[in-house]
């Protein structure tokens, strides 16, 4: 699984980096996002709703994102 290390980056950069990576992925693919920005987790909730993808929190600063839609 590919990993994005966005630790130290502030919002909206972690979500932008995630969006870039996800645009190259196919449905079912996963990516691990590492981010210590306090806005990342709430924004992943909204991002998932808006893009039709899902995420799973693995630790305080790590999230696994699964691409479900082809957008």
């Amino acid at each position: 699984m590919k990993e994005i290390d966005a630790r130290g980056l502030r919002c909206p950069q972690p979500i932008i980096e995630l969006g870039k990576e996800v645009s190259f992925m196919h449905a079912g693919d996963q990516v691990m996002l590492h981010s210590d920005d306090p806005a990342t987790e709430p924004d992943l909730v909204a991002w998932s709703r808006m893009t039709g993808n899902v995420f799973d929190k693995k630790s305080k600063d790590s999230f696994v994102i699964t691409k479900l839609s082809e957008r």
Partner: protein, 355 residues
């Protein structure tokens, strides 16, 4: 070429009638209303007139009106004053930080928010718990269904936060204390009006010698200006809201055509003069600066614009995007040209930010 400018921040200049009265109020309202001198008697008369005017505009008894300064002190007075022997608090996830600060010291239960910003009622039998309920949210303008929440919690001690809703939303019949902010009717800042509807449930939480009707020192000229602003805005609010709703519909319609825009709460259940929208992959601080350079001042709930770098707890609780956020307040006097210009500027700068 004349540069179009628009103020869409939550703050605004005083109501013109309040501004007019301020000079005269400082001229005649400088004395201490508690003193027996002639000037004191005059000040006392002015204060009583102001309190009666405020009570009439808010449809409450004059004895229940307690002016306070600053307005934020009202959270402590209004909530802490209702605590019984074993204080517990029920409040919403989208409440102001002042309420969260009180909750940190006592057992509390937080009502979650749905995506539309409405609090999800929880059935409890906590009659002695204080229920702190925000009538309309300060960031999104979402209006709560107060009666349903009050009914589900069964709390008998209820604090209503009317600081944002002001006179735009009527108070529920069921409450013990309520807090208004003079700014909500374009009166002076830093002045609050605490309503103590059920004095038997309330005791002054501040150190005091006299347990009788609480009297907190406030600036008499500011109180007079606030009363004048309230009296005038009461007759203007319907027209102002009607115009604001029209502009709000235009803003929502335009922003919903921008890709990946996340509008917080539907207009049908929100204050007509407020709007919060977030744009995916946009930097809130850069967006605000770009709008400012085009002549439009707005607020933001994004972490990059906050002193503590924390995202808006309101947007987070709702599940709305916290970055790329702008908050727009439509004031009486906002023009169609300002709305058109703001829309154009937002669309251009969002696209530029994403490029």
């Amino acid at each position: 070429m004349v540069r179009v400018t628009g103020n869409f921040q939550s703050e605004s200049p005083l109501h013109p009638k309040a501004f007019d009265v301020l000079h005269a109020a400082f001229d005649s309202g400088w004395a201490d209303p508690a003193k027996l001198s002639q000037s004191g008697a005059k000040a006392r008369q002015l204060k009583n007139n102001a309190l009666e005017s405020i009570a009439s505009s808010l449809s409450v008894g004059v004895d229940s009106v307690v002016p306070i300064s600053p307005a934020s002190l009202g959270y402590y007075l209004g909530i802490q004053g209702l605590f019984a022997d074993t204080p517990t608090l029920i409040h919403g996830a989208t409440d102001r930080k002042d309420v969260f600060a009180i909750a940190t010291k006592i057992p509390h239960n937080v009502l979650k928010s749905a995506l539309d910003g409405k609090l999800i009622p929880e059935n409890t039998t906590a009659k002695q718990s204080v229920l702190a309920l925000q009538i309309a949210n300060a960031e999104t303008g979402v209006i709560q269904e107060c009666d349903a929440i009050i009914s589900s919690t069964q709390s008998e001690r209820i604090f209503l936060d009317a600081t944002t809703s002001g006179i735009r939303v009527p108070l529920s019949d069921q409450f013990s204390t309520a807090l208004f902010d003079s700014k909500s009717w374009y009166g002076p800042a830093e002045l609050g009006i605490l309503i103590i509807k059920k004095p038997s449930q309330w005791s002054n939480p501040l150190p005091h010698l006299n347990a009788a009707h609480p009297n907190f020192d406030v600036s008499l000229p500011l109180l007079l200006a606030s009363a004048v602003a309230l009296e005038n805005f009461t007759s203007e609010v319907k027209t102002a809201d009607s115009q604001a709703r029209k502009f709000n519909e235009q803003l929502r319609s335009a922003f919903s055509q921008v890709a990946d825009a996340d509008i917080a709460g539907p207009l049908e259940s929100s204050l007509a003069h407020m709007l919060s929208v977030s744009f995916l992959n946009c930097n809130g601080e850069e967006l605000i600066r770009a709008l400012e350079s085009d002549g439009y001042s707005v607020d933001s709930g994004s972490a990059c614009t906050a002193d503590n770098l924390q995202p808006s707890h309101v947007l987070a609780a709702m599940g709305v995007l916290t970055h790329g956020n702008i908050r727009i307040t439509i004031h009486p006097g906002t023009t169609q040209a300002e709305i058109d210009g703001l829309i154009k500027s937002v669309v251009i700068n969002v696209n530029r930010s994403r490029a």
